[in-house]
């Protein structure tokens, strides 16, 4: 540092170095350099310890919104049962008993709804509706009695799930029990839906309806975890999946182009295995939930393979389907097909050995082979993700994306550095024009440079990514920094020359009163961005605040001390420079 060489000019450098603020400053500076490891940039991999954001490194980002609603609703269970059952059986029903809301039930007695009808009913059909436990009794020739063992919440949940074709779960958000509807539904639509079954959206204490867009924190975090999982499975361990606000998830794909990023992120969907029956026809075997484990793609027997494991029902279902369709005896006419969101992603016959074994017992461990070449390897990796992450728990929609080519990022980085350096020269020029003394210029520029180093040091230490907004933040911090150094200088030199030590200390105090006020306004002005944390501006705000703190508490106090020493030295030897 230029400052340290200058310090040799001081009458008594030892005294300066004993001041706690100077020691802290030097330690902070050295620690920052240790964190940044700038020599890494000259080393083999050409990188220091600083992380750069996508806009400087190249890559892409995706921001997705989780669609859903949290609401407290009420409905008439009997109406739900009628509305759900009548279209299925094609006839009216008559509710004969309803103990869902009665309090006097003994422990062994389950809450139930009983109805009778003259229409044809089948137990399995009713069970498929998912209303509860079903039992069917024939009362007479034309009259049938159906008993549903169920609960009110279960009925409402089921009603919403069927009407909206989405998953609905009950969650306790801390404010009470909510129905989490995992798809987009407006308040009006939900209200209309509830009114059809004699219900409504409940109101909060203040009279507003208990409805809010979005999903619970748990669901959001689960979605993030699944995405993370998916990316890790692809070997993309350094891709950060972050939640932004309540409803957004932001994924930064460093070094990956936008098309690939979208492929990776947008694909989750319904995974299904089917087996070919005849010609183009096929029958359902199992869904993604029957897959309990997926291995890492490997190359053996001259083929790429993706291993996966089926659950017990999955294994049995596959065996049953293979026998029923005849795949065990003639695998080449009965391919196994894998679908993701109704799209065929993989299709192959059973291997002859598997076909034989499957005739006798279910197989739980499978390998999907894809071929020999690079393309097959890529396909195996894709398959791995699809098998693993069948679907995200909640419907998502892409709300923002971006892409910067790696070469462009490098260019931005170079330009930002050039802009920073030239700005510093411009500042130095103005300062020199104003004061005309190198005893002021050198410490001032030195302080600014050391503030930048310390901000970068903090960034390296906490693994903060430097992106363009963060660089703007650094420039903002430096801008206010120079302002504050000018305040200190002018306060110290109020009469145009250095005052006595006693006056000097009170002057520094006055200068810092102004500086603290100015710094406080900057920090307060930036804090809404940190708290709200929207997008890229959060980095900008945090960098500015870190910079202001470093400047006010570490660097600027030392500047005050250093210029005093330097000015004293130069005033004792008046030939070295003129006094302005």
């Amino acid at each position: 540092m230029s400052e340290k060489t200058e310090k040799k000019l001081v009458n008594n450098p030892g005294e300066l170095l004993r001041k706690p603020r100077v020691i802290i400053f030097i330690l902070a500076l050295l620690a920052s350099i240790a964190f940044i490891q700038p020599w890494g940039a000259l080393g083999e991999d050409g990188r220091s310890n600083l992380n750069y954001g996508l806009d400087l490194e190249g890559g892409s980002w995706l921001q997705i919104k989780l669609q859903g609603a949290l609401a407290q609703v009420d409905a008439d269970p009997e109406m739900i049962v009628s509305k759900t059952v009548e279209p299925l059986i094609g006839g009216p029903i008559e509710i004969t008993a309803n103990t869902l809301e009665s309090s006097g039930l003994s422990e062994t007695e389950n809450p139930r709804i009983v109805f009778t009808t003259t229409a044809q009913v089948s137990k399995s059909e009713l069970e498929l509706l998912g209303l509860g436990q079903v039992s069917v009794d024939r009362l007479s020739q034309e009259k049938t009695q159906v008993t549903l063992i169920t609960g009110k919440e279960e009925l409402i949940k089921n009603y919403l799930a069927n009407s909206l074709d989405a998953e609905v779960v009950l969650v306790n958000t801390g404010e009470g029990l909510f129905y989490e509807i995992r798809t987009e539904v407006s308040e009006e639509d939900l209200k209309a839906l509830m009114e059809k079954v004699g219900g409504s959206i409940l109101t909060n204490e203040d009279g507003t309806p208990s409805y809010k867009e979005g999903v619970s924190t748990e669901t959001r975090d689960l979605t993030r975890e699944i995405l993370n999982d998916k990316l890790n499975a692809l070997g993309l361990k350094d891709i950060p999946v972050r939640t932004v606000g309540d409803d957004y998830i932001l994924i930064d794909f460093a070094g990956i182009d936008l098309a690939k990023a979208k492929d990776i992120a947008e694909k989750p969907g319904k995974f299904e295995i089917r087996v070919q029956t005849e010609g183009n026809e096929s029958m359902h075997v199992l869904y993604g939930d029957s897959i309990v484990g997926v291995g890492i793609p490997g190359f053996h027997d001259e083929q790429w393979h993706t291993p996966f494991t089926l659950s017990e029902e999955g294994g049995l279902a596959l065996q049953k389907a293979a026998i029923e369709t005849g795949a065990v005896s003639d695998p080449y006419s009965h391919y196994l097909e894998m679908y993701l969101d109704e799209n065929l992603i993989y299709s192959a016959p059973l291997s002859s050995s598997a076909a034989v074994r499957l005739g006798e017992a279910p197989i739980y461990s499978w390998q999907a082979s894809t071929g020999q070449d690079e393309e097959a390897k890529a396909q195996a990796q894709q398959l791995q993700i699809h098998l693993r992450a069948g679907a995200l728990p909640v419907k998502v929609v892409l709300v923002g994306s971006g892409h910067v080519d790696a070469t462009l990022g490098k260019q931005f980085k170079a330009e930002a550095v050039i802009a920073g350096l030239l700005s510093l020269f411009a500042v130095a020029f103005v300062v020199f024009r104003r004061y005309g003394r190198k005893e002021i210029l050198v410490p001032m520029v030195g302080t600014s440079v050391s503030e930048v180093i310390m901000i970068l040091g903090v960034a390296a230490a906490i693994g903060w990514q430097l992106d363009l907004p963060a660089i703007a933040g650094i420039i903002a911090a430096i801008g206010t920094g120079i302002d504050h150094l000018v305040i200190i200088t002018d306060e110290v030199l109020y009469e145009g020359k250095l005052p006595s030590t006693k006056v000097f200390i009170s002057r520094i105090g006055k200068a810092f009163a102004i500086i603290f006020g100015a710094a406080a306004t900057t920090v307060i002005a930036m804090s809404p961005l940190v708290v709200m944390g929207f997008g890229s501006l959060k980095g900008f705000a945090i960098t500015t605040i870190i910079g202001v703190f470093i400047g006010v508490f570490i660097a600027r106090p030392v500047y005050g001390t250093v210029i005093k020493e330097l000015l004293e030295a130069s005033e004792e030897a008046p030939n070295t420079s003129e006094i302005a």
């Binding site: 910067v404 070469t407 462009l408 260019q411 802009a419 120079i482 302002d483 000018v486 305040i487 006020g517």
Partner: protein, 301 residues
Amino acid sequence: MATGLTEFLDTFVKSHDNRQLLAIPLAVLAISLIILGVSYASSGSPVPLGMEFQGGTQISMETTDSPETFENLYSDYPIQDARSAGSRVIMQFGVMDNEEQRRLEDAVTGQYSNVEIKQIGPVYGKDLQFQAIRALILSFIGMAIVVFLIFRSFVPSLAVVLSAFSDILIAAAFMRIAGIELSLGTVAALLMLIGYSVDSDILLTTRVLKRRGTAEEKITRAMQTGITMTTTTLAALLVMYVVSTFPYLVIPSFTQITLLSQISSVLLIGLAADLMNTWLLNTGILRWYVLKPEFKGRYNR
């Protein structure tokens, strides 16, 4: 530069009474308010909203072809605008569905190099817009509270806050006239302006209220320091603006850094406005306040 400006302003302040000092900045503020008001009435927004707040897609890439070529080439897509910046063309598209978006991105990345893509959905854009406005308002209120806490005296604090308010509105009106869109970058610049612009006002007010000396002398001294502060910042911003906006004049392959260019241009105007607001508006109010007969020269001795 700084000295000449200081002398000019100092003479100007000394030779005009408070009412005259206030007239100029208040007139500029009024004009800015009219500009923003007319814009709001005609377009529903005081400043033009950028892609980030409206939704849409911006794609830029390296090419020497003219922007018109691309308006034709991508006429199947909702292209709104194409302009060139150095060796690049920046295209602006309206909202597209996922598939259309994907086709466009594939078409561009397949053919051109050094591509930059930014896409914001309309719903998210609305959300961002709301958040940006909230951030600006909260920042401003926070700043005002800090200022009132520092000075604990109504008129001087109000002068500081009014001066900062005027800086921001003038910068916003300038954005409207120059066609600079409100983007995340320019929101950042307006926030920075809130922090920056009060620095010199705090300096002035502290010096005048808390130091000994005649008001005139203290204002002159504060002006020397304050104008040095603002000119150093302006110099740095000017360089940043030139480097980030016209880098291709030096190295042809270099690209505009839109974010830094927007931030620096808005800050340049905001800080230029701050020179006027601090040394005419704030000074005028403060000088009237400290010389009020009821203080019996408490701030002027």
